[in-house]
Amino acid sequence: MLQKENEISVLIENSRLLSPNGMNEFIRKLSAYYEVYAPIKGEKLVVFEKVENPQDIAWDYETTQISPKKFLHKPFEILFSFEDGGKIINENKDVVEKSQILLGLHPCDVRAIEILDKVFTKRYEDPYYMKRRKNSIIIALTCSDAHEACYCTSFGTGPRIDSGFDLLITTLGGNYLVEIGSARGREILSRYADALSTDSSILMEYHRLKNAKLEIIENKISSKMDTEDIAELLEQNINHPLWENLKEECLACGSCTIVCPTCYCFTIIDKVDLTLKSGERQRVWDSCMLLEFAEVALGVNFRSERAARIKQRVYHKLYSFEHQYYIRGCVGCGRCIRFCLKKIDPRKIIAELRGEPIEQ
């Protein structure tokens, strides 16, 4: 892979090696200037949270329940407030002024942000998302392992990644290989980090190690989704009996969509205080799996059938996104499988539509 002379020199030029201490120091310094968020080990789960102490970072985490999209598109957000008499106060306390660093995103989550970027900029720019997006520095993290729910290789969204980040960290033998992905990344690295080594042969060795690590992970991801001609497949199977069968299983609980890093649907609601006149306009994540999602006045519901909602989720990800944004809406992070009580699995859905035996 790393053959051409100039490619190698670019690679080396863009790489640094940090020791554990060096990394901690780097993060500590970053914390002084930015809000730094990273995967932190909680009681039961790893959660993206503000870093209090670099030692708390779970470098080898599998996945999080809620993806880092929450730092750009908030689960609850105030769009604006208003006062008695209808005066709109054009302020948004929630939007960060201080830049934030999103550290430790796995490749799939980085790709998911690229997808959200398209959603929130096409035609109309969403000012809330964009303000945060522009203020966010992304420090990606190569995965340490693959879980049986992972299928990023089916979409080319992982475990290798070569863009979409400002820095990319790979943990290797106790040290940290840091690759630069943008001018901003280069700047913060040179300003706040002391490299353990810039020696090209050492760095080359680490790149070889990284490559080996990625190969192991890639090989481990055995359960894939066959995405070839998936659009045609879906177009032809709108009435496949599978959808009716899924209806019996799916709890319509909505978990799969809330945990999905590319789901973005939201509802807007007004909340007034006890004056009944002043209040806030808020937005809250919504989900197409929920009955009320497509309900309009007088009780009409365009997707009252659970099967229709299940289809909407699958079709939106694997079909509609491509029409809407010229990109697939799934990054294969596997969250919807892990956090589904019924273990409903898009890979199996596609396999079944193809009439393939369902592998375990």
């Binding site: 319509a252 609980c253 909505g254 006890l274 989900s287 009320e292 009580l341």
Partner: protein, 253 residues
């Protein structure tokens, strides 16, 4: 403008929902600027006569006297709100509906000929209900939301989707998946902020069924997690065993 008059009525219940109203220490004085509580025996000797603009009814209907009383109250109230799972579904009191009547009575009554307790139902078994505030007990904030929207003459924004959504939005780890605690959240109506899972307790379904609840599917999962059919049945016949959805869940063998 005259403040709307409010009546708060009690049927068969433990008064917990009424207490939740009194627990609105921070909002109570503000609320009283908006409404005139004309009937609230738990707090006042004033027995205001109807008609009332809004009636809040706590408790299940469990006797012939109460059936008559709820109909009278309906007549007196322009808007009638069921307060808490007892009034919405029969609540805890409705557990008795699922026991053989004889077994139940023999344990409590000495004189069987005198029994006149009816099955415990939510008030909409007998009268039209305009709004429901679910929960055992009600969530105070939801109560305030209902009061506010009633005063503004709009429908309150109370989403009846699963509790799971609230768990996920607030990033509580799913205790069903992480701790194997059998949880009613996937079929239970949200609004409590996933209180129980947030405290490492399984949701017990106190708010009754969510919208489009797949109780049969959940019942099957519960059994996969080791519950016996009887244990599953008991889970579904606790707070809202009279609802169609929970009945279905209770019946899965």
């Amino acid at each position: 403008m005259k403040k709307p008059t409010v009546g708060i009525f009690k049927f068969t219940s433990d008064a917990g929902c009424q207490l939740q109203i009194l627990n609105l220490e921070k909002e109570l004085l503000e609320l009283l600027k908006l409404i005139d509580i004309a009937y609230f025996p738990m707090a006042s000797r004033n027995y205001g006569k109807g008609p009332f603009d809004i009636g809040f009814v706590e408790g299940a209907v469990t006797s012939t006297e109460e059936i008559i009383k709820i109909k009278e109250i309906r007549e007196q109230c322009r808007i009638l709100v069921a307060l808490g799972s007892c009034a919405c579904y029969g609540g805890i009191a409705s557990i008795k509906n699922h026991k053989p009547q004889r077994e139940l009575e023999e344990r409590v009554y000495t004189d069987l000929t005198a029994v006149h307790s009816t099955k415990a139902y939510g008030i909409d078994q007998y009268v039209k209900v305009d709004a429901y505030v679910k929960g055992c007990p009600i969530d105070k904030n939801e109560f305030v939301e209902v009061v506010k929207s009633t005063l503004m003459e709009i429908k309150p924004n109370l989403r009846p989707h699963s509790v799971c959504v609230e768990c996920k939005l607030r990033e509580y780890p799913c205790i069903f998946l992480t701790e194997g605690k059998v949880c009613m959240g996937p079929v239970t109506s949200a609004g409590c902020g996933a209180l129980c899972p947030s405290k490492h307790r399984a949701c017990e379904g106190c708010r009754g069924p969510a919208s489009d609840p797949n109780t049969s599917s959940l019942a099957r999962t519960m059994m996969e997690y080791g519950l016996t059919p009887e244990e599953v049945r008991l889970k579904f016949i606790k707070y809202a065993g009279e609802t169609q959805a929970f009945k279905e869940g209770a019946g899965v063998r």
